[in-house]
Amino acid sequence: MAPAQPKAAAKPSEPPAGGVKKAKVGKPRNYDLGCGVVRFSKTKMFHKKNVYNSGSGTVPDFDPAYALDSVILVSCSILTPVQFSFSIPVQTSNSDSCPAFNFNTATGYGSNLYEDKAKYKFIGKKNPKAPKAKKPVVVVKKIGGDNNGGTRTVLIKKRRAFYPTQDKVPKRSHHKTFSKHVRRIRKNLIPGTVCILLAGRHAGKRVVLVGVLPSGLLLVTGPFAVNSCPLRRISQRYVIGTSTRVDLGDFKLPEHLNDAYFKKNKKSTKRSVKRKQGEDIFASKKEKYVPSEQRKADQKLVDEAVIAAIGKRDDKKVLRGYLRSAFGLRSSQFPHRMRF
């Protein structure tokens, strides 16, 4: 960017590139900082001149205040290139005349900054490096026994004993697995909403939504006493949320009613398990599902809250009948045209 040969401070009599008819009054805005670094690059200067010339066509009077401002402003931008030159040892003939560049003074001075202050002191100066203490790699250890030579040098960090011929397959932990997906529940599915189940063994039943589990599955209940639908998980895809809502108040699901709670124990049907237990692995024994006491207690707990909420309503009788009845489509009824 800059010529290799460092110039001394630019002469003030030198006319700018634009060509001026009047005698030059001010000082050149661009000057050599030494070591071949110019204060403004060629492009910067081009733009600056343009700005100056675009006004009235004549060069305005030099305003020292403006100059001061501009120097302070620009000083930030010149910091980086100058600093960069620190690291390069530059050999110049007039190294004595380039004292260390003091940024503080450089920013503070306005008009004659380029004349006597832009001297480089750092040229030829070398910062002695502090010698780093080397960390020991080996340790000399004493060894017992007559024929063992007495000492042995041992590496502090042991070398690897295993050199695999093949690279390991890296685990891809960053992959978005289904379990990490963000679950979004339809807006109308708020706990207390009466839903119509569309799939599963209780399809067609109208049930009450009790909560949403972290897996994104809805937790619904009949209540069991009303339509014999137990506490159950179901995907929101298989549910129509109606506009009918039961006010559950500040009812909160017990903490232990989570996804793990509702997971089915499929182990007993696995062959490996059967083999261990000495059963016939091909026999498909049908086990009848019997709800545990825990389940019964939880069912009761949740249903009590729901039934109490229904009981508070004026239309409790009708609503109970509504929950008891099953949903179905009549002739000339189309679910996409109906309101729920």
Partner: protein, 168 residues
Amino acid sequence: MPFARYVEPGRVALVADGPLKGKLVSIVDVIDQTRALVDGPGSGVPRQQIRLNQLHLTKFRLKFPFTAPTRVVRKAWTNAELNEKWADSQWAKKLANKEKRAQMTDYDRFKLTSARVKRNRARTAAFKTLKSKAARSGIFGKNKIPKKVVKKPRTKKASTQKKTPAKK
């Protein structure tokens, strides 16, 4: 049978299609075989042309001269009490019921069904009592049927009928 309703100045029509669907307009002028100039000062429809196949003609007709200005149409409209007459007509009531039906939620539909079940049970019970009475009195023939203990109908009185639709 000749037509009873014509596309003629003053004829009131219901817009059946397009952006003005469901609005009542009055024909002011017939532009050509497919279009007419309509105006609806009583229903918020500005004067404009409309295709005839978007119109359904009603039995109402306003009295104003051919290509009358909106001011005249408005006067005829209010004087004829067209909005009231229209709302009172069977056609408008049917439309209103249709709309009501479409706005029903699932719970409303359930309530309607159960109300109808109640009504129908009560009606059947009443009908059967009449029928058995008639049979006993010998209306259906000479053979008199002896009085039997009639089972009590399963329903309560239909006093709690809710939101009965216009449909019978």
